[in-house]
Point group: none
C-alpha cells in the first residue's frame, strides 16, 4: 500500500477546475520556454523536442496544447501583442495631447524593456517573409489603430506631411527598438528617447 492509498480511500478524478488550471499552467510554461528558444535560436533552429525537453515535458504533450509548431508561434505572438494592446488601451479615441504623445513614446519603450525576449522574437518575425505570413493577421490588427492615432496627432499638430511624418516616426520606433533589442547593454536608450522627443515635439 503506497502513500497515495493511505491519503484517500476512494480515488476521485480531479475536478474540471483543477484540470483547467493544470492546462493553463502547462500551456504558459510551454509558451514561455518556446518564446525564449525562438528568440535565442530562431524559429527554424528551435525543435519541438528542444522545447519539450527544456519545459520538462514529453514532445507529445505539446500537441495536446498546440496544434502545431506554427500554431505555437502564432499563439505566442498573439498573446504578447494582446498584453501590449491591453496595457496601452486608454479607452478614449480623442486625439493625443503633446503630453500624451510623450507618454506614449516612453511607455512604448518601457514595454520593450520589460519584454525584451518577446520583442527579439517579434522583430525576427516581422522581418522574415515566410514566418511573417504565419502571424501577419495578428500583427496587422495590432499595429493599424496605433498608426492611425499617430497620423491624427501629427495632423492636429499642423505637420506639413502627416503621412510621411507617421512613417518616419514609426520607422524610428522600429529602428531604435531593433538596435536596442539586438544589443541592449550598449544602447543609451534614455538619451535616445529624449532625442526623439526633442525632434518630434518642438
Amino acid at each position: 500500500m503506497n502513500n497515495r492509498s493511505i491519503k484517500t480511500f476512494v480515488m476521485c478524478p480531479r475536478s474540471k477546475e483543477q484540470y483547467k488550471e493544470i492546462r493553463k499552467i502547462k500551456q504558459d510554461l510551454i509558451s514561455k520556454t518556446a518564446l525564449e528558444l525562438f528568440a535565442e535560436n530562431g524559429f527554424h533552429h528551435t525543435t519541438i523536442n528542444s522545447i519539450a525537453q527544456k519545459t520538462g515535458i514529453s514532445n507529445g504533450l505539446l500537441y495536446n496544447y498546440f496544434e502545431s509548431k506554427e500554431d505555437l508561434l502564432k499563439k505566442i505572438v498573439s498573446k504578447g501583442i494582446n498584453e501590449i494592446i491591453t496595457s496601452f488601451d486608454n479607452n478614449k479615441n480623442d486625439i493625443l495631447t503633446k503630453d500624451e504623445f510623450i507618454h506614449y513614446i516612453k511607455e512604448n519603450f518601457n514595454i520593450i524593456k520589460n519584454n525584451l525576449k518577446f520583442w527579439k522574437l517579434y522583430i525576427a518575425i516581422i522581418i522574415q517573409p515566410p514566418v511573417l505570413k504565419i502571424v501577419k493577421n495578428e500583427i496587422l490588427n495590432f499595429s493599424a489603430p496605433g498608426l492611425k492615432k499617430l497620423e491624427n496627432y501629427f495632423t492636429a499638430q499642423g505637420v506639413k506631411n502627416p503621412v510621411a511624418e507617421t512613417k518616419l516616426f514609426s520607422s524610428i520606433m522600429d529602428g531604435v527598438q531593433i538596435n536596442y533589442v539586438i544589443d541592449s547593454e550598449n544602447f543609451p536608450l534614455e538619451d535616445v528617447i529624449n532625442l526623439i522627443i526633442l525632434k518630434f515635439c518642438c
Copy 2:
C-alpha cells in the same frame, strides 16, 4: 558517340584564363539566383535543389563552387557588402561637411533602392541570431568605420550628445530601410528622406 562528345572533341582546349572566367560567371549566376530566393523565401525555406534548378545547373555542381549552403550565404553577404563599401569609399578621412552628410543620406538610400533584394536578405540576416553568427564579422567590419565617421560629424557640428545622436541616426536609417524594404511600393521614401534631413541638419 553523342552530340556532347562530338562538341567536346571539336572544341579547342580552353586556356586557364577562360576556365577561370567561366567559373566566375557561373559563380555569380548561382549567387544572384540564391540571393533572390533567400530574399523571397528566407534562408531555410530555400533548398539547394531550387537554387540549382533556377540557375539551370545540377545540384551537385553547386558544391563545386560553394562549400555549403552556409558558405553560399556568407559569400553573398560578403560580396554585397564589399560592393557597397567600394561605392562609398571616397578615400579621405576628413570630417564630413553638411553637404556631404546630406549626400551620404541620399546615397545610402540610393544604394538600397538599387539592391532591394540584397537588403531584404541583409536585414533578414542581421536579425536572425543563428544566421547572424555566420556573417557577423563581415558585417561588423563593414559598418564600424561609417559609424565612427558619423560620430565625428555630429561632434564637429556641436551636438550635445554625439554618441546618442549617432545611435539614433543609425537606428533611423535602419528603421526606414526596413520599412522601405518590407513594403517599398507604399513607402514615401523621398518625403521621409527630406524629413530626416530636416530633423538632422538644422
Copy 3:
C-alpha cells in the same frame, strides 16, 4: 465539496447486480460507437479518443472495459457474429428442404440489411490480412457449420460437384453482400435475390 461529491454521498451504494448492469450498458455503448466509426473510417483511421469522445466518456475509462483497441475490435466482431448465429440457430441438424434453403438465402440478406454497419466492418476485416488475424478464430468458428450445412443440402439435391457448388454459392453470397454493403442504395437487392434463387433452386 463539489456537486459530484454531494451526489455520491447521498446515493445509496449500488448492488453487485446494478454495477454489472451499468458495466454491460456502457460496454455496449462503446461497442456500438466504435462499430460505427470503424465501419465509417476504417480501423486505423479511428482513434481511441474519437471513440471515447463520441461515446461521451474519457479515453481512460475505455481501458476499463476493453484491454486494447484490438480487443475492442475482437469483441465487436465476436458479438456481431454471435447475434447472427443465434438468430440462425434452428437447433436441428437435419438437411435443409428447398423451402428452408430459400428461407436461408432471404434471411441471410435480411440480417445484412438490418446490420449494414456491422457488415461493412465485417467485410473490411475479412479482407485485410493483419486485421483478419485478430478475429480469424471467431469468424472461422462461425462460418464453418453453415458451409457444411450448405454442402449437405447440395449433395442431397443431387448436384454433380457439391463442393464447387457450395464454394460458388458462398462466394455469390459474399459478392452480393459486399456490393450491397458498398452501395446499398443503388443495388437492386430483391431482384438479385430472386435471380439467385432461380439459378440455384431449379
Copy 4:
C-alpha cells in the same frame, strides 16, 4: 589511382537515356516491393522504411520517385489497372457473342491468377473506405465500360432483368475472386468457373 580512374580519364556524367533507365528500373522495383508488402500486410501496416529496406534503397530515395506513401499506392493501383485494361482491350464495341462472353469470364480469372498479389491489394483497397478514396477515380474509370458491355450482352441475350443480371454477375465475379484470392490453394477455381458458365450461358 583507383579502378575508376584507369577506366576513363575524363569523367562524364551519364546520358539522359541512362538516367531515365535508372529511374524506370528503380521505380518499378519500388512499386513491385511495395505491392507485395501492401498485399501482405495492408497499407497501414507497411512502413516506408520497410519498403525501402526490402527494395535495398534508402527511405529518402523513395521520395525521389513518389510524392508520398499515398501517391505510391495510387501509382501501383493505376499501373495494375492499366495493364489489365490493355490486356482486355479488343478494340471493338460490338456486343459480345456467347463465346466471347465465356472467353471474357475465363480471361478475367486468368488475369487474377497471374497477378494474385495485385488483386489481393486491389480487393483490400476497394473494401476499405478511407483507402478507397485515394484511388476511387482510377477504379471507377476502369470498371465502368466493362459493366456497360456486360449489360448490353445480357440485354441482347433477352434476359428479363439485365440490370439485376449484370449486378449479380459482377457480384459473383467479385465474390469468387475474393474467395480465390484469400485462399487460392483450397479454392476449386476451374470447377467454379465451369459452374458460372453453366448458370449464365444456358
